[in-house]
């Protein structure tokens, strides 16, 4: 177990290193400069600015410098916001994003599980066909479309919930619901097919042959086994929520990390773009790691040498 963990952490660091490197050099290829109206600056002013941000040094030096700072948790300074560190910008922005993201995950997971489980139990019924159709729609239509629809109907027409802005808990609902649609659809589809697979397994017949009541068979043998692989979906779901928030936050004016990210891209705030990219990547790698560990605990067939017995 200990050896396995160390190995996994090693791989995580290597993956992160590759991502940082790739991001760094891709940023070099971006056109334009981070300074607004560079043509109005004198050569001397430019030189001062370049020196301040270390842009006068060779790329290799900049890279090593960046890595060195990163190891100490320093993502550098914003090019656009005088004197603000990227780390502080991320930490002030992460709260709202995390809140609407996690809330979407909870709503989506619960709805998805309920829908998917009922679908599988009523396989080939009207309910099943209906929820499969809904799931396909939910997965293929991007969340900003739902965001717009929700804003218009719930926010503008019915005036049940605030259309946008960040004023108290009620403001978090529409963005979370918009984000949760994809989650619901993905989870429902996944658990439905897992359930159908488990329902066809021999051990379910064994459980029935033991005389277990049908609802015990479903809860103790079918749902339990079907739920375990759902954990593996947390990774992909986290990604879908993270990317979803980029647009959703903009639409609902949520002062979150996603909105900061889009803003920074628009104004070519290199260090912030890189910082947030690296932050998202690290988060994702971490989620995958945690999922693997949880999975190992849930499924007794997995041992921590990392292979199925």
């Amino acid at each position: 177990m200990k050896g396995y963990l160390l190995k996994r952490i090693g791989y995580m660091l290597i993956t992160l290193f590759i991502i940082v490197t790739a991001t760094f050099f891709l940023m070099q290829l971006l056109p334009g400069t981070p300074f607004t109206n560079p043509e109005k600056l004198s050569a001397q002013q430019l030189a001062v600015l370049n020196a301040k941000y270390g842009l006068d040094q060779p790329v290799a030096m900049q890279y090593l410098h960046y890595l060195g700072n990163l190891v100490q948790g320093d993502l550098g300074y914003s090019f656009q916001h005088e004197g603000r560190t990227v780390t502080s910008m991320i930490s002030t922005r992460i709260g709202p994003s995390a809140f609407i993201g996690l809330q979407a995950l909870v709503i989506g997971a619960i709805l998805g599980l309920v829908l998917g489980i009922i679908s599988a139990l009523k396989h080939n019924s009207i309910f099943d066909y209906g929820s499969v159709a809904l799931a396909v729609i939910g997965m293929s239509i991007p969340s900003f479309v739902f965001a717009a629809l929700l804003q218009y109907y719930i926010g503008v027409k019915l005036e049940w919930l605030p259309v946008a802005l960040w004023e108290g808990y009620s403001s978090t609902l529409l963005p979370s619901i918009a984000l949760s649609v994809t989650v619901t659809a993905t989870v429902a589809r996944f658990i439905r097919s897992e359930m159908l697979e488990v329902l066809g397994q021999d051990y379910v017949i064994t459980a029935r042959a033991k005389g277990m009541r049908e609802n015990q068979v479903i809860v103790k043998h079918v749902i339990r086994n079907a739920l375990i692989p759902v954990v593996t979906m947390l990774g992909p779901l986290a990604v879908s929520i993270m990317t979803g928030t980029l647009v959703i936050e903009k639409i609902f004016s949520v002062p979150g990390l996603g909105e900061q990210f889009t803003l920074s891209i628009l104004v070519l705030d290199y260090s912030v773009i890189m910082g947030i990219t690296i932050f998202y990547s690290a988060l994702f790698i971490f989620v995958v790691f945690v999922v693997d560990i949880i999975y190992g605990f849930l499924d007794p067939r997995i041992n921590f040498k990392g292979e199925a017995a």
């Binding site: 021999d202 459980a207 042959a209 005389g211 849930l298 017995a309």
Partner: protein, 344 residues
């Protein structure tokens, strides 16, 4: 005379499929007496598992229809029972062991718990009592270090050991009938013998009646008191072990016997299986299901279904037109034109 525990009468089972109805079991009759072993043999697809599962009502409800016949356990018809009543009988009165021990245990539940579940359900045992009984069962089926093994998961056992666990699970509540559907087919030959010995040994201790489904005549010879030979959803011949082995009357049974390697035979010689393939159940109509492959087929075989006829001692019956007194027995030259009229 020993008393009958289970009686299957004229059982007909059909399935709704996308291409229409398929009748997989078409008139099965047999009786099982206390403590005896009835072997059901037949090629794959002959309806053995469907017969077994319909006794336990384990077939998918939505697509299965038991269109005719009855299943009587301990004097009561099982077919009329509510689904709650049938779950009371499953696992406590009638138990089942399945073919593949690698898939018939829940992979994420400790084996001890899987045995305890049934005990807690049927015998209202406390957790502690159920655990003790489960331990006793594991010891009984010969699992070493049973105490420790209770808390193991199925993947920590070999195939043979898993089948022992499945047998422990099936016998935990002292059922009167154990249905074993090809319990050794998935196991190595040496392990097969051990599992069969175990079953025989436990049967002597518990007086459980066993329905043993198999396509291995060696297993039958080793285990059975009575034998039922199934073909195309019907029992075409049944009788005591001796009658079936030494006095087989149905051409299909004869074919099966001939395809079995003899002890003193050169085993490298290819088997002589019955030519042709099993009938398509979806299109099978009136007449003998074996007619397409039978070396003695007569006209009547194609148009009328032969009925069970007593052909030997101890209620030895076979369903074949050759047994009809009106048919001249084929001697040197089979009388292929024998006609029987007015039989349905």
């Amino acid at each position: 005379m020993k008393n009958t525990v289970l009686k299957v009468e004229d059982l007909h089972v059909s399935f709704k499929t996308q291409t229409g109805n398929v009748t997989a079991v078409r008139g099965v009759n047999f009786e099982l007496k206390k403590g005896e072993t009835l072997a059901i043999v037949g090629e794959s697809g002959s309806g053995k598992s469907v017969t077994a599962k319909s006794i336990m009502q384990l077939l998918p409800k939505s697509t299965t229809e038991i269109s005719k016949g009855d299943i009587v356990y301990d004097g009561k018809s099982l077919l009329g029972l509510s689904s709650k009543q049938i779950t009371d009988i499953r696992g406590s009165e009638i138990s089942m062991v399945f073919q593949d021990p690698m898939t018939s245990l829940n992979p994420t539940m400790k084996v001890g718990k899987q045995i305890m579940e049934g005990l807690q359900r049927h015998q209202k045992m406390t957790k502690q009592q159920a655990r003790e009984r489960a331990l006793e069962m594991l010891k009984l089926v010969g699992i070493p270090k049973a105490e420790m093994r209770l808390d193991n998961y199925p993947h920590q056992f070999s195939g043979g050991m898993r089948q022992r666990v499945v047998i422990a699970l099936a016998l935990a509540c002292n059922p009167k009938v154990l249905i074993a559907d090809e319990p050794t087919t998935a196991l190595d030959v040496t392990i097969q013998a051990q599992i069969l010995d175990l079953m025989k040994d436990l049967q002597q201790k518990t007086e459980t009646a066993i329905i043993l489904i198999t396509h291995d005549l060696g297993v039958v010879a080793n285990m059975a008191d009575r034998v039922a030979v199934m073909y195309g959803g019907k029992i075409v011949e049944q009788g005591t072990l001796d009658e079936i082995f030494y006095n087989p009357q149905h051409p299909y049974t004869l074919g099966l016997m001939q395809s079995m390697p003899k002890m003193n035979e050169d085993r490298s010689k290819p088997l002589m299986p019955i030519g042709g393939s099993p009938p398509n159940l979806a299109t099978l109509g009136e007449g003998c299901a074996f007619a397409a492959r039978c070396p003695h087929t007569m006209k009547v075989c194609h148009s009328f279904t032969p009925r069970d006829t007593v052909v030997g001692e101890d209620n030895h019956t076979a369903a074949c037109w050759l047994q009809d007194p009106r048919v001249q027995k084929p001697k040197a030259e089979p009388q292929e034109t024998a006609e029987v009229v007015g039989v349905t």
